[in-house]
Symmetry: C2
Subunit: 112 residues, 2 copies
Amino acid sequence: MSTTLTTCCPPLVLQHLSPAEAEQLAAMFRVLGDPSRLQLLSLIASQPTGAACVCELIEPLGLSQPTVSHHLKVLFEAGFLTKERRGTWMYYRVVPQTVQSLCVALTTPANE
Amino acid sequence: MSTTLTTCCPPLVLQHLSPAEAEQLAAMFRVLGDPSRLQLLSLIASQPTGAACVCELIEPLGLSQPTVSHHLKVLFEAGFLTKERRGTWMYYRVVPQTVQSLCVALTTPANE
DNA sequence: AGCCTATATCGAAAGCTGTCAATATATGAG
DNA sequence: CTCATATATTGACAGCTTTCGATATAGGCT
């Protein structure tokens, strides 16, 4: 529908948040509230293919492999990433809709 | 250039984040990563005048006065709120540009 | 089968965060 | 000045998070 245009850009702010909605939204922002996870999203999104396996992400982040896996799990469970096996490797990919939905939540008067 | 129009709506994701930029951005999301703070933003933004004093926010949140003051301070220091004295009362107001800047960071290829 | 590599999970330590009661500060009224 | 009210600060505690090393799981190769 044509709602996407009107809900995206105007600098409004979320309204009428129920406690449950607030908790849900906060959980999403909490996932983005870590610099390592933001760098993971950034790194994965900037791959030419749009996908990256874990071993490609460890060195640029400067964290241990278990820690990187942990962050990827958090991002995956929040819906910011998809994962797909290819042999031994696991390829992660950003889900732009999830990112955008946060944007919409921030700028929409929460109608409908 | 005409970057503002092209960088706002498409569902892209942040790219080329330096560690320092990631930490800065994450700090902003961390502020939004708490349900009480989201409810505060929501409550203040939905006031007819656009402003609210602390005593109006305590009861709807169901938290103690010091806790509400604490969250308001966090939001204020991150640039999400302005505050203004009126007699004994302190009136807080949402800064829409701060909210929107996060949106832009999420959907922009980080050019310029 | 056995080995190697890639990823995930476990358990623990250190640090951060949300919350409150108690207290401090500040403004206005009398 | 004194009192009452509104807001901010302090100190402490409980719970959560980030991180790691150690270990487990899974897939491919010989």
